[in-house]
């Protein structure tokens, strides 16, 4: 429950100043309220064009107020803003592409969240996760030893499929340092195993760090930039310590954005870039396919569509590669309309999934736009290279009775690829 402490306006002003409030003020003044952003927003579309869901309105009611009043607002007002900044926007940035002035409304909502987070105004479940990052270095309270043991276990069980499968931990000088989402060691260790199988079969020189393995960065969404920077730094430190050539992020959207684009800024990198190059599983698998390191028995035959995660294909540079990878793996790839950087957010991002059951209804209502996009393709398979998108589309599947099956790239590749004879386990009864 929110304690009734008075609002500390100075803390809010510090966030505004740090974020160059001249730029923010200019954006707010430049906005002509033309409304071109409205129909770009899935929240607006899914809520019967209710003007309260217009991106420009959401920015004015949150950051706009905070700037205008220089943080001198009441706790009740902040609570009201919370429901706008977290429950009516995923910071997917689609609206920025439609703004004639190029105003980055997603970023403005993010700064509003940072202001509120200084006052502990934030959806509770999301806020609590910051603490897990501080104590454990990951979002699910996993001790590093248990992470390592899970990897050993997955390598061992994976040897039933791939002889001598290894998950190398803390190997020096590897080409790829692979990092994962906590949910993989905690609840879905098969994801680690599948990624390991793909990298092993491709003959890559790869490793995972025993610390700094957490790819996610939900503090970016809670607005706690101090913790977000700490998480990004521990990934960079691990890669530097192991002298890895590249950091490769698992099939997760926001983790890529955090490590590649936002992390360098939070951690004050001198050249504005991560100290070790950051890549993503989509790009890695694309490279394996293109260079013939992975060969297929056959392509996937059924009609299949692709969910473009906002943080890969809009805030990131992977839209084209994801499409090309689909073409290399599938015979009948049916893109959603609109797609790539124009695709709609599914409403799983921006912290929505971790915000928990209290926000599920909102998520299901706003997800209608994505459900319709999927339905229109007619495909019964959806390739989803992001965990939050996966959970959301799974929920939409039930809510809107889509009758679809969701797969990841690594899962699909494991199913389709040719395993060289020397990697096949000796015949024995399972």
């Amino acid at each position: 429950m929110s304690e009734q402490k008075p609002v500390n306006a100075a803390d809010i002003r510090a966030v505004l100043e740090r974020n160059d409030s001249a730029r923010l003020r200019a954006w707010l003044k430049t906005c002509a309220s033309c409304g071109l952003c409205s129909e770009s927003c899935f929240f607006y579309l899914a809520n019967d064009n209710n003007p309260e869901f217009m991106p420009q309105y959401k920015v004015r009611k949150t950051l706009g107020e905070l700037i205008k009043r220089q943080g001198e607002v009441s706790r009740e007002e902040l609570e009201g803003m919370k429901e706008i900044a977290w429950a009516r926007c995923t910071m997917c940035r689609r609206c920025s592409q439609y703004c004639p002035f190029g105003i980055d409304m997603g970023l403005m909502i993010n700064i509003a969240r940072q202001c509120m987070r200084t006052q502990n105004v934030c959806p509770e479940r999301l806020m609590n996760i910051d603490q897990s990052y501080v104590e454990f270095g990951n979002q699910m309270q996993i001790p590093d030893e248990e992470f390592v043991e899970t990897c050993e276990w997955m390598a061992e069980e994976g040897q039933a499929t791939i002889k001598d499968l290894e998950i190398p931990i803390d190997k020096q000088d590897a080409r790829i340092m692979f990092i994962v989402n906590s949910r993989e060691p905690k609840y879905y260790p098969q994801d680690i195993q599948e990624a390991a199988i793909v990298m092993h079969v491709a003959g890559d020189n790869w490793t995972m760090p025993s610390h700094g393995w957490e790819a996610t960065n939900l503090s970016m969404f809670s607005g706690n930039i101090g913790v977000a920077g700490m998480v990004a730094q521990s990934v960079y430190d691990a890669a530097l310590k192991l002298n890895a050539q590249k950091i490769c992020v698992t099939e997760c959207g926001h983790a890529y954005r955090a490590a590649k684009y936002e992390g360098p800024y939070w951690t004050k990198q001198p050249n504005g870039q991560a100290p070790v190059e950051v890549t993503h599983a989509v790009a890695l698998f694309h490279e394996y396919m293109k260079e013939g390191k992975i060969k297929l028995k056959h392509k996937f035959k059924d009609a299949i569509t692709l969910q473009h995660p906002c943080n890969l294909s809009r805030s990131g540079d992977l839209g084209e590669k994801a499409d090309e990878l689909m073409e290399m793996l599938c015979e009948n790839f049916i893109p959603m309309e609109p797609h790539r950087e124009w695709s709609h957010c599914c409403c799983g991002g921006g912290g929505f999934i971790p915000m928990g059951p209290d926000y599920k209804r909102t998520r299901m209502v706003a997800g209608k736009v994505k459900a319709e996009q999927i339905k229109k393709t007619g495909a019964k398979y959806v390739l989803v290279p992001c965990h939050n998108c996966t959970d959301q589309i799974n929920d939409l599947n039930k809510e809107y009775d889509l009758g679809i099956k969701i797969v990841s790239f690594k899962q699909l590749i494991c199913e389709l690829m040719e395993v060289p004879p020397h990697m096949q386990p000796e015949e024995e009864d399972e």
């Binding site: 996760i129 949910r183 996610t216 059951p357 599920k360």
Partner: protein, 105 residues
């Protein structure tokens, strides 16, 4: 928040269908949830998993990692999925009365 009535008992559940209060759990809850989790018949192996999840939760206040679940029960990952098709995090925890896991899940 919603209320579920089953065999004369009421359960308060969250929007994801997890029990609102762990203390409300009783074996009827498992009976109620099993169908939506794709389980036809419950056997001793299901119960062994459920009991372990509850013990661990009582001691630690969180759900265990799958690795620990596998080590204690002796079941391979594949077998855990055979028992609980929607997985250890969602299906098994829901049946055991644990709250919805936190984080990206």
């Amino acid at each position: 928040m919603a209320t579920v009535e089953f065999k004369g008992k009421t359960f308060e559940v969250d929007e994801d269908g997890f029990l609102q209060r762990f203390e409300d759990w009783n074996p009827d809850w498992v009976e109620y949830v099993k169908e939506s989790e794709g389980i036809k018949d419950l056997n001793d192996e299901h119960n062994k998993v459920i009991e372990f999840l509850q013990d661990y939760y009582k001691k630690n206040g969180i759900a265990p990692m799958v690795r620990i679940l596998s080590k204690v029960t002796g079941y391979k990952l594949k077998h855990i999925y055979e028992l609980f098709p929607s997985g250890p995090g969602k299906g098994a925890c829901k049946m055991a009365g644990l709250p919805k896991p936190t984080g990206c899940v």
